[in-house]
Symmetry: C2
DNA sequence: ACTGTTTATGGGAACGTTCCCAATAATGCA
DNA sequence: TGCATTATTGGGAACGTTCCCATAAACAGT
């Protein structure tokens, strides 16, 4: 049975109020009393109950964190960033995962709210409209969206410019000489990032007057990716470049292509999104749009702290992304053969 | 301001006791009352405070989880498993990370205990003796160790047989024909797994009367790995095989070897530990000892639930590991040239 | 010595819930 | 009808803390 503040008070020969003051350093305490309390705490291994404390104070030192999955290193890394900042702010985090499922997401949020978290950091399936978000807003709980590119909303959010960066990446692929570019995407319903990235892709292609292919939507961690890709590349006139809405998807795609006897980037170029650490270790390294995932988590937590301190922030903030070209993204063979004026752009991309 | 149970009682025209009974389903409630309460709860969006509840009950529905890092997919995956089982048991998890630092570890555990967690799941730097463990035991808080191969202790633990599997892996490397085998390890002080795996390595080598090289200890997520490996392979008579105490380390090693102009597995074989998902996607796939990380987390949480339900479990449990050979592990060139009787073993390994 | 002010401490209500104990109303049975 | 039993419900203490208010002691200034 853990010691309570009253046990400490009895042992130190003072009242619980004085011990409480000692713990919170609110007022001056006589040197003798102070020493006795310190000794009593030490001897009994007393540690104030966070429960009793937060019941009275009506606010906890915990924040709720909801991400779709921890198996995706993007989210794992962002949670690590959140955790780091939370610790330095003396807060703890309650972790929940949604498995990319809006229903689980809602239930998880309800659960977090029941824990009286002082705030929430969330990566939602859809950052613009979701039952979970309604719940949070009706509870009046401060929150920060993470990765959700909530352009329309007025809530605080930390993200990268998903649409813009996808456009840039697609432009790079185009200027490398590719003309038939496919897009594999996680189901739009479970990831607004996926949808926005596809939008960037279409924008770039339309601007270049190139054919826009419909998105190949796959389940995030399901096994349907390989089948979809295999079908795509056994059709006549397959694409020369494959964009994937996440790095994980890109790696799966590359494994499938290998099984089909195609080499990357010789036969087909591949690029992903996220910039997970292992992508850079591959040979050739995975072309991607790198986002500062750890920093994003860290910054989200900092933003939430600001909010909790009363400083209201309401504009979504974009952190800088970085294109990592080269590696799995190269000049297409057919393009070189058929079109002279792509050479320059192609070589340039090759060097990046 | 969130509604309390009293607000609900007032609105439903009954006492808080009745509402409490409604919430916990402890006794029968008159149909009319039941309906009014349900309606009031619904209208006010009431959600019972986990804080008030756990203060009174003197037990929380939260468990503390401590892992060294989330950036390592091994731990991220195990936390995902913990999370899955926790949700189905109606529990929440408070997450903390130690960064492989025993001091942070202790502080984090103290913090978790302050949250009155009903139990703890921990991956400690050292599962046999640690200040954090002392803290937990003196608090009498139920716990399950995860990944810590706490053979000596009598507490419940979920692990794989680190030493045995390392021995098996080393034996496989030996029978592939390797004679000079080096071992890169995460610092023993921050990972008992690392030490045990090295022990398995030495056992296998000694049994085969081969030279045991001292461990090359590196910082886990530090940048010193490349330098250490580069030095090793620029010395005369470098090893033909490199065992790494984790897959992450192995991937870093392979990138370094590539930079040195060495190819894997042609010039040097590499094997890791853990069996992270991305290792299998590489070409060639990373040879490794795969552990069921997700299942281990799931099982650890299940074990903790058992314990909380009063069924005492005290023996550490090993989950099965699996050797994934082939890929980055092949027959050494020199060995084939110099020794006939290795051919058979070598070819066998090549096929795996 | 008397008042006013500071310094150090104690007492008790409150936070939102559970749960024991009582109290009332309703029912069953002789 | 009377009494025992059951079905519902209400009241209040308790969980461990904080924090407002009160109190006592010490001290300074006249």
């Amino acid at each position: 049975m853990a010691a309570t503040i009253i046990d400490v008070a009895n042992r130190a020969g003072c009242s619980k109020s004085t011990v409480s003051r000692f713990l919170n350093g609110s007022t001056v305490i006589a040197e003798g009393t102070r020493a006795r309390i310190a000794q009593a705490i030490d001897e009994m291994g007393f540690r104030p109950s966070e429960i009793g404390r937060s019941l009275k104070r009506r606010l906890t030192q915990t924040v709720g964190v909801l991400v779709p999955s921890l198996t995706n290193p993007v989210f794992a890394s962002s949670v690590a960033g959140i955790q780091a900042q939370a610790r330095s702010a003396g807060r703890s985090i309650i972790l929940a995962t949604s498995d990319y499922d809006p229903d689980i997401e809602k239930e998880a949020v309800a659960n977090l709210l029941g824990h009286n978290v002082s705030g929430l950091i969330l990566t939602l399936c859809n950052g613009v409209s979701s039952a979970a978000l309604d719940l949070i807003e009706s509870a009046g709980c401060p929150f920060v969206l993470l990765f959700n590119d909530a352009v329309g909303s007025n809530g605080p959010a930390i993200s990268v410019d998903n649409e813009g960066s996808a456009r840039e990446l697609t432009e790079a692929v185009i200027s490398a000489g590719h003309r038939r570019i496919a897009f594999v995407a996680a189901h739009f319903a479970s990831s607004d990032r996926s949808r926005l990235r596809y939008c960037g892709y279409t924008t770039a292609l339309e601007a270049a007057a190139l054919p826009v292919l419909p998105p190949l939507e796959v389940h995030f961690e399901g096994g349907d990716t390989s089948a979809v890709i295999a079908e795509l590349f056994t059709q006549p006139d397959p694409p020369t470049a494959l964009l994937c809405s996440t790095d994980i998807l890109a790696l799966t795609a590359m494994a499938t292509l290998r099984d089909l006897g195609l080499t990357v980037p010789n036969d087909v170029s591949v690029a992903g999104f996220d910039g997970i650490g292992l992508g850079a270790m591959l040979s050739p390294p995975l072309a991607t749009v790198a986002q500062p995932t750890w920093d994003m988590g860290f910054e989200a937590m900092r933003l939430l702290s600001e909010q909790l301190a009363g400083r209201m922030i309401s504009a979504p903030a974009y952190l800088p992304h970085a294109l990592r070209l080269g590696g799995t993204l190269a000049v297409p063979k057919r393009s070189i053969a058929t079109s002279m004026n792509n050479n320059k752009a192609g070589r340039k991309s090759d060097e990046l």
